[in-house]
């Protein structure tokens, strides 16, 4: 492996790295919001919406991101929705991640013991107060481990963005290999790029999980 090639590539990889971070951040934030909405609608059994969002969850979880991206980027312009490659990537990540996040929030909300809800009712809390002071704080912190796993999963899924030519990390590496045959150097830079994002994040999320667990359990 030629270290000078790796070094020359740093500015390009830096750009790709920042783009991967930006797209991941926006997509994950959107996925969390969609997940919360879907999960609340299901937990509080909002009539009508419950069905529509149920259909979304099935579609989202049972199709690959690759196919979702093809639809968003190539098929939707045919019916008049044209958005940039990067916007398509973010929308795809939100579409995929939303259902995973919803499942994780569902797990947390349903994991709040029934006695907690009953004792909240017994002191006269309204449904809204029960949600705000009892179910949500406990349910959300119960869902943190699963949410953390989704965050890591979704960041890795951004590698699929390469199929719609977004110059994120994987795309950059594949380009370098395709044009210059610098396979070793490209793969090395690629792995380092992902590791710099994922390893510290993983440590941070584990720490966060432990902290919230301590705050919630052991009643």
């Amino acid at each position: 492996m030629d270290w000078s090639i790796v070094q020359q590539g740093i500015p390009t990889y830096e750009k790709a790295f920042l783009l991967t971070l930006k797209l991941s951040f926006e997509g994950i934030l959107g996925a969390i919001i969609v997940g919360l909405i879907v999960s609340f609608v299901r937990y509080f059994k909002v009539p009508g919406l419950q069905r529509i969002l149920g259909a979304y969850v099935e579609l989202s979880r049972n199709t690959p991101l690759l196919i979702q991206l093809f639809f968003i980027y190539y098929a939707f312009p045919e019916i008049g929705f044209k958005i940039s490659a990067q916007a398509s990537g973010i929308v795809g990540l939100i579409f995929l991640g939303g259902s995973y996040m919803a499942a994780s929030f569902d797990g947390g909300l349903n994991g709040v013991p029934k006695i907690q809800v009953e004792s909240g009712r017994a002191i006269g809390l309204t449904d809204w107060q029960l949600a705000r002071y009892v179910v949500l704080p406990q349910g959300l912190s119960l869902s943190i481990p699963a949410i953390a796993a989704n965050v890591i999963f979704l960041i890795k899924e951004t590698s699929i963005f390469t199929v719609i030519a977004i110059p994120e990390l994987t795309n950059t590496a594949l380009d370098q290999i395709g044009m210059l045959y610098d396979t070793n150097e490209a793969l090395f830079s690629l792995v380092v790029g992902y590791a710099i994002i994922l390893i510290p994040l993983s440590i941070l999320l584990t720490w966060l999980e432990r902290r919230t667990r301590r705050g919630t359990f052991g009643n």
Partner: protein, 245 residues
Amino acid sequence: MAEKLLTVSHLVKNYGRQEVLHDINFTVEKGSVTVLLGPSGSGKSTTIRCLNGLEDFHSGEIQFKDQVIKPGFKKWQSVRQDIGMVFQSYDLFPNRTVIDNILLGPLKVQKRSKDEALAQARHLLKEVQLSDYENAYPRQLSGGQKQRIAIVRALALNPEFMLFDEVTASLDPEMVRGVLEVIEGLARQKMTMLVVTHEMNFAKQIADKVLFLENGKIVEESAGHEFFDHPKTQRAQEFLNSMDF
């Protein structure tokens, strides 16, 4: 005859096709302690849970003060502020400190002033000898301490009626006494209470009236001591003989 606080008439509850409460009738007089006794599965907890709307019932009615409650009643939220309940399993909110557990109802449900509610909460904590635990989280307390806090949390709403559903059943034996003493203290202060318990000595000492349930029916209703000294039915006699007290 003392004033009635609660009258239960012809209460029936089913789980699916199975009837679990059959024609339950009783009254609770103001300032009295009524104890529900009976074997497991006899319907004691279900009865008590019907009284604050945690379980639906299918026919009959409950009159609490001036409020007549029929199946499908919708205004439990206001009734519950007058009926405190303490459960068997620990039910404090684990994400809130002791004081925040206690103040949630007074501040958010009853919209009382913070100063006044806090002063009352501190007074109640002192009565159950847990003043030092104001800022502790539930996980830092023993089972008996948690149950005493749960009682305080219910009392903080100034209820006129308290329901106790086997509140010592999941405690270590050495914790039981302290919790029962708190309930005895309330009885001395003439709090109206309905108590489900398996602590026979406690029941005997505290009960003004005993309702003995079996298979979802009230088999026997007696004044407290009478039930323990001269049970009327053979079934109650057998139940008492099987109890170790």
